[in-house]
Symmetry: C2
Subunit: 232 residues, 2 copies
């Protein structure tokens, strides 16, 4: 296995792109970096849609001649093809199920809420469109409620060091990359959530230097009043 | 293995509840039926949240003393614990990855779009709240675009008999149960989509009598102008 070339298409401004980038670097899977600029809509070009990913989204891979989209499906595929360590995706029934439960739950919760707030309040003005403040407030309130559920149910108010239990798994990387995103729009998810803040720092330390490398561009565009690490 | 009692909590008016119900019946996994009435908000009761599912959602299981939420995570857990046939969830790398790709893709697409249209246009008036027709139109347009992508990319305009290839998998059951839902609100997803219509009938035939049993209540409440099977 792993003898076929693996091409990884990503943009580090995309949350799931960063999560898979960190995984690939941490697990030392050999891969070819194929950056695609979302800001230039390169992912929507007919060349990309025809030859790389029929849905025109990031991230995605081509492994040999096998094309695969959807970051979490790619993660599961890589975990089998490259026989990743158990820590990323436990083999045992209940432990694996808990990681799976988070990876399903996040779609309509952490992923949806943080991304919707970020896209509307950060992208809309960039496109020169008017921002409806009532809508921003509603999206922020939904995100806040979701982050509170995350801290309460997934981190058990700090009694669980990681999302799926005692060990870091890919679920933590996915969650942290999503929760970093609203910082760009001036919202610091750590404020008033000490257990979430401590967990984010644990995930960062456990996956550095790749975590900071993946977030370098995000740190750069984060407003100065929100503290971010210094990265060379 | 499979010696512990399996309790299944569900409501057949919920799309993912039906999908897992069909799987459990088709694979002859022994389980205890624990219906929970969404219309009575039984899933929000403190008893349910404390003892069954901390998120107050359906479906979910308790297997022995292991509690698990999220229908797709439950499916993966059952596929391991009860060693389901390969047809439901292929073991081979690329075939499994294609099922996984659909199961991830659907969250923000078929699941989100069909459910949002259904909830707003069917539930809102039931609650005695005013319906904004412009919003209904927008949600319908999003759903239509998504169903068109489904027929084009996942069924390859009828060249693929099932979502992940030549064989029926759990991905088809999940997709069909979602695409049935907007019928309740008077929208027939089969109109103008012959490949989607033929695929829905294939999924139904392949999983009957359990498909019709799971959809009996949906058929009952579907407006008369939309054709539904006669079920005893």
């Amino acid at each position: 296995m792993a003898s076929r070339a693996l091409k990884y298409y990503y943009d580090l401004l995309s949350q799931p792109s960063r999560a898979l980038y960190i995984l690939l670097e941490q697990t030392k899977i050999p891969f070819e970096k194929c950056p695609v600029a979302l800001r230039k809509c390169e992912n929507r070009s007919s060349e990309f849609v025809q030859n790389v990913n029929r849905f025109g989204k990031l991230p995605c891979i081509i492994h040999g001649d096998f094309k695969l989209a959807e970051s979490i499906a790619i993660f599961r595929y890589l975990s089998r093809e490259f026989q990743l360590e158990d820590r990323w995706y436990p083999k045992e029934g209940a432990d694996r199920a808990r990681v799976d439960e988070y990876l399903e739950w996040q779609h309509a919760n952490i992923r949806a809420q943080c991304a919707q707030f970020f896209i509307y309040s950060w992208i809309t003005p960039l496109l020169g469109m008017e921002v409806n403040q009532a809508k921003v407030d509603r999206l922020r309130a939904n995100m806040i409620e979701c982050l509170d559920v995350f801290e309460r149910e997934w981190l058990d108010e700090g009694r669980k060091p990681f999302v799926a239990g005692k060990e870091l798994s890919f679920a933590d990387v996915v969650a942290a990359c999503e929760i970093e995103q609203p910082k760009l729009a001036g919202f610091d998810p750590r404020v008033g959530r000490p257990h979430l803040a401590a967990w984010m720092e644990r995930v960062r330390v456990a996956t550095n230097p790749h975590y900071d490398e993946a977030h370098k561009i995000l740190y750069k565009f984060t407003p100065k009043e929100i503290e971010t690490p210094k990265v060379q």
